[in-house]
């Protein structure tokens, strides 16, 4: 086969091939074409999205390592403490092999974090599937995907001893056949421990450490850069198997190695595109070259070709460059941890990645071209033809003449879409490490992290996405996400420090999808700028579509923050009673556009979110943090999907929680359902002591934020009034439905 034809079969375009030939100054050989095909894939090069990503604010006083510089961003948490964190997707591998796909996703993001020099201390996961309660084969497949993915994450995360402390799980038909599996990892380190992935110092040895190379996941990066089709199943040898045991040994060994003064020059994990990516990226960052000998690469299988070794995505491997003369120390450490460590090459001054096999050159490529010169495309963008139509909403055609709020809430409590996620996080060790202060189940998870000089910093984090909002209004939807994530942190008294995002979209060659992506990025960027929130990195996953069509546009954000001094952390659920229910924010509900309520209760996805009021949000968050420093706050929960009624109901679902009796304001030209279930406005609910009310009202007044007394807590009945609606539910009635809905469909 001719070189160009071969390039086309690997997914490179004719134009890209020509650019490669020009850059190389000759016809590339098969190995080189293979290397370009993965490095220039969307997954590694962001060729379709790079222009968009530049719109994010990436700087700020707290940023220590910026987006795009290294494997993960790093922010300053004060007192010499730094936080490294990032989100990564494993959507396509999980669709094909849910258990291993999800497990290797966890392993991959773990490596990104400890590559930075950080000790990984927490995971979160954001998962999206079709409807598990669907009848027939669809439901069956979805259920097995859910179980496979959750047990894959549990398998890897639990085994490496890093707690999984939060995340999200969403069911929507839009993800039928194309699940989303995004995994987030946070690590902690001292400022002076930050590691770089640069190959420097001509003559320094290049080590390969960790697991042996096999034919795993050949060209997985290219695989992730295509639509999911029936043919993907023929790609099945692309399945990689994770070994969390080796993953754990690898990070312990690396952390021990880093602790030796002046030993390590550069580190890079081998993730997508394995050896190819790690050599050319480190060389490119170091402004140097690298020469390696494939015969020295530890191999699990016999007869592997250079092409296979270069493109293998075997897991649990790292590339480490140390100072010449210090080789023995590295070998000693890895031997003690029972891991392979092979010196496979050296740093050169040529600026080229030279690969030899048996002394013979099998690939020779300028590192920079491979790593940084991938083409950048401006894709065509077009407003989706049906968007305006979809954004229309006529409630008169949807809502019944007389509100049926009692049934509505029972339905919500019964739906797996809204039920308790305990079934998931019970399977994750969320306590190992003795840092988890706020466990999964609430608005944001909180970890305590030891300061370099002793004492604790409390770090709050959350993952949020909402495909429904973004489908109906990509720009406001992604703004709302950022606002919601920050609101979640505010409920834990935390100031956001940085954000990482995962852009999950369909095929970017479709102008409507590309437009949606661009809107999403711009909305997110605007919100981040408003909240002074640097985007420190993230991931793009495109081609998320199955024969049934593309997924909802689904940006997912992970926000990390620091709990303010003096804040008392309170639960998200009510106590036994005797408290006052307060609403902070606005009395407006934001309406039912794009709401969970319309989708779950009436089977309609229509309308759009109200315009996000970023200023009001920011003031609300500031107020919330101040309120948490007062005495007498018992419980806090933010109003999100399902609106104020669902948020209140959720507060009564604690094992020991009592009921509540509340009156929810209903506007004069508003349907009670809008007031009760509208999810478009940023609001927070509190349970407080009677004695604390005046103080909170005072703070709210100063801040210019609304504060409304809705009722009181106690008894075991949940009673609400809203306009003409007056309903009640026995406490256990809703609670049991809520806790059983997920196990019921999945077990």
């Amino acid at each position: 086969m001719k070189a160009k034809e071969f390039a086309l079969t690997l997914g490179l375009s004719a134009g890209e091939y020509d650019q490669i030939e020009k850059g190389m100054g000759r016809e590339p050989n098969e190995n080189e074409i293979g290397m370009f095909s993965v490095m220039w894939s969307e997954h590694c090069s962001y060729k379709n999205t790079r222009r968009e990503l530049r719109k994010f604010p990436t700087t700020g006083p707290a940023v220590l390592v910026k987006a795009g510089e290294e494997n993960a961003g790093v922010v300053d948490a004060g007192d010499g403490l730094a936080l490294a964190y990032k989100i990564e997707s494993h959507n396509h591998p999980s669709a094909v092999e849910p258990f291993q796909g999800a497990a290797t996703g966890v392993g991959g993001i773990l490596r990104d974090i400890f590559t930075m020099g950080a000790r990984p201390v927490a995971f979160m996961d954001s998962l999206r599937f079709g409807r598990p309660e669907a009848k027939g084969d669809d439901g069956k497949r979805t259920r097995s995907l859910i179980k496979g993915v959750v047990s894959g994450i549990s398998h890897y995360g639990n085994c490496v001893g890093v707690p999984t402390i939060g995340g999200e799980l969403v069911f929507d038909q839009a993800y039928d056949g194309n699940p989303l599996v995004n995994v987030f990892c946070l690590g902690t380190l001292r400022h002076d421990q930050i590691r770089r992935g640069a190959a420097k110092g001509v003559g320094n040895p290049v080590f390969y450490v960790g697991a042996k190379t096999g034919r795993d996941g050949l060209a997985g990066a290219a695989f992730a850069s295509r639509d999911l089709t029936e043919e993907s199943k023929a790609d099945r040898p692309a399945v990689q198997v994770g070994d969390p045991f080796v993953g754990k040994l690898l990070f312990e060994a690396c952390l021990e190695l880093y602790a030796r003064p002046d030993l390590v020059v550069g580190v890079q994990d081998m993730g997508a595109a394995g050896l190819t990516c790690s050599t050319c990226e480190t060389a490119s960052r170091g402004g140097s070259g690298i020469e390696i000998e494939l015969d020295l690469v530890p191999q699990r299988e016999t007869g592997m070709t250079p092409y296979e070794i270069l493109l293998s995505e075997s897991q649990e491997r790292m590339l480490i460059i140390v100072h010449k003369g210090r080789e023995a120390e590295l070998k000693e450490i890895f031997a003690r941890w029972g891991l392979d460590a092979a010196e496979i090459g050296t740093v050169t001054e040529t600026g080229r990645v030279v690969v030899k096999e048996g002394g013979k050159v099998v690939a020779d490529v300028p590192a920079r071209i491979l790593a940084d010169d991938a083409p950048v495309y401006e894709r065509e963008a077009k407003v989706p033809a049906k968007l305006a139509e979809r954004q229309k909403l006529d409630l008169r055609k949807i809502l019944p003449a007389k509100p049926k709020v009692r049934e509505d809430l029972l339905k919500l409590a019964t739906s797996p879409a809204t039920g308790s996620r305990r079934w998931v996080w019970n399977q994750y060790d969320h306590m190992v490490g003795l840092r988890t202060v706020v466990r999964p189940g609430g608005d944001a998870a909180v970890l305590r992290v030891e300061k370099p000089g002793g004492g604790w910093v409390h770090v709050a984090m959350t993952l949020d996405g909402n495909g429904r909002w973004c489908a109906q209004d990509p720009r406001e939807g992604s703004k709302a996400l950022v606002a919601e994530a920050c609101r979640n942190l505010a409920c834990a008294g935390a100031v956001p420090l940085g954000l990482t995002d995962n852009l999950n979209y369909g095929n970017p060659h479709d102008p409507e999808i590309f437009w949606t992506l661009r809107e999403g990025v711009e909305g997110m960027a605007e919100a981040c700028r408003f909240f002074d929130l640097p985007v420190t990195g993230g991931n793009v996953s495109l081609y998320n579509q199955s024969p049934a069509g593309p997924i909802h546009p689904t940006p997912v954000v992970g926000v990390v923050g620091k709990v303010e001094e003096g804040v008392r952390l309170v639960p998200g659920i009510l106590g036994k009673g005797g408290g006052v229910v307060l609403l902070l924010g606005t009395q407006e509900s934001g309406g039912l556009g794009a709401s969970l309520y319309l989708q779950e209760i009436h089977g309609v996805l229509a309308g759009k979110l109200g315009k996000v009021n970023l200023k009001a949000e920011k003031e609300l968050h500031q107020l919330m943090r101040s309120v948490l420093k007062l005495k007498g706050v018992r419980a806090v929960h933010d109003v999100g999907e399902g609106g104020i009624l669902w948020a209140l109901a959720e507060m009564t679902f604690g094992e020991e929680s009592g009921g509540a009796e509340v009156e929810i304001p209903c506007g004069s030209n508003e349907r009670p359902e809008e007031a009760l279930f509208g999810e478009g406005a940023g609001r927070i609910l509190l349970e407080v002591d009677e004695e604390a009310v005046t103080g909170i009202e005072g703070l709210a007044k100063e801040a210019g934020v609304g504060c409304y007394r809705l009722g009181k807590t106690g008894g075991d009945i949940f009673v609400i009034r809203c306009g003409v609606v007056k309903e009640k539910w026995a406490g256990k009635e809703l609670k049991d439905l809520f806790h059983n809905s997920l196990p019921k469909v999945l077990e």
Partner: protein, 230 residues
């Protein structure tokens, strides 16, 4: 008391145990699995985690680690040996405690705070408690279903070697409160001599109020020989 906390490849609660012991005013050192010596005055902790990935069977490979010979000797000398979670599995595999821990009946890994009831307050490990006291202690395991032959179970019952049983918040031992299907709702047992304890729940995870409770203190202090001081 000085504790030796054994670190197998794949252990992941080793540092947690050291931290908890230090909070309780005890001395603790980490002992690498390839070491061969336990000092005669030390108490040993085999911590939780996934030693050797828990491949094949939990604890199956760890029991062949060089340090295990020394742990056996220590146990025979009457020194305190505590296996927590994976450590319990290792003790069973090594024959220092009878029975075996098998896949949870519900087939899932479970991480939650599970109430357990103190059955036998007369051992050193439970001396801080009274009979029937309910402790809130986290569990986190996929293979914690205790199985043993009828003879062994009978012996454990007869000799009051069952120290903890899973129970509901009211202290009743009922099937719904058994998180893994263990025979006789067993959460922890000791050897005949009373110096070796194996338990699935993690006492080291509840020694500080910020971690959600302090019910585990008594067990670790008991191991240190100062349980009654609580």
């Amino acid at each position: 008391m000085r504790f030796a906390v054994v670190q197998f490849p794949g252990s992941n609660c080793d540092q947690d145990c050291v931290h908890a012991l230090q909070i309780l005013g005890q001395e603790a050192r980490l002992v690498w699995h390839q070491e061969t010596k336990i000092n005669p005055e030390e108490a040993v902790i085999l911590p939780g985690g996934f030693s050797y990935g828990d491949y094949l069977r939990c604890g199956a490979i760890a029991r062949f680690s060089p340090i295990m010979a020394a742990v056996k000797v220590a146990a025979e000398r009457g020194q305190v040996v505590v296996g927590i979670c994976n450590g319990f599995q290792i003790l069973c595999e090594a024959g220092l405690l009878p029975g075996a821990l098998t896949r949870n009946e519900g087939l899932h890994f479970r991480c939650e705070t599970a109430p357990i009831r103190v059955e036998t307050p007369t051992t050193r490990f439970t001396s801080a408690y009274v009979t029937g006291q309910i402790l809130q202690i986290p569990i986190a395991h996929g293979e914690g279903c205790y199985r043993a032959s009828p003879d062994v179970l009978q012996e454990l019952e007869a000799r009051q070697r069952i120290l903890f049983r899973y129970c509901n918040p009211e202290g009743e031992v009922v099937a719904e409160a058994n998180p893994n299907g263990s025979s006789h709702a067993i959460a922890g047992i000791c050897n005949a001599r009373g110096n070796v304890l194996g338990m699935m729940p993690h006492p080291e995870r509840c020694c500080e109020p910020e971690m959600g409770g302090v019910d585990g203190r008594g067990i670790l202090l008991g191991a240190a020989g100062v349980g009654r001081s609580l």
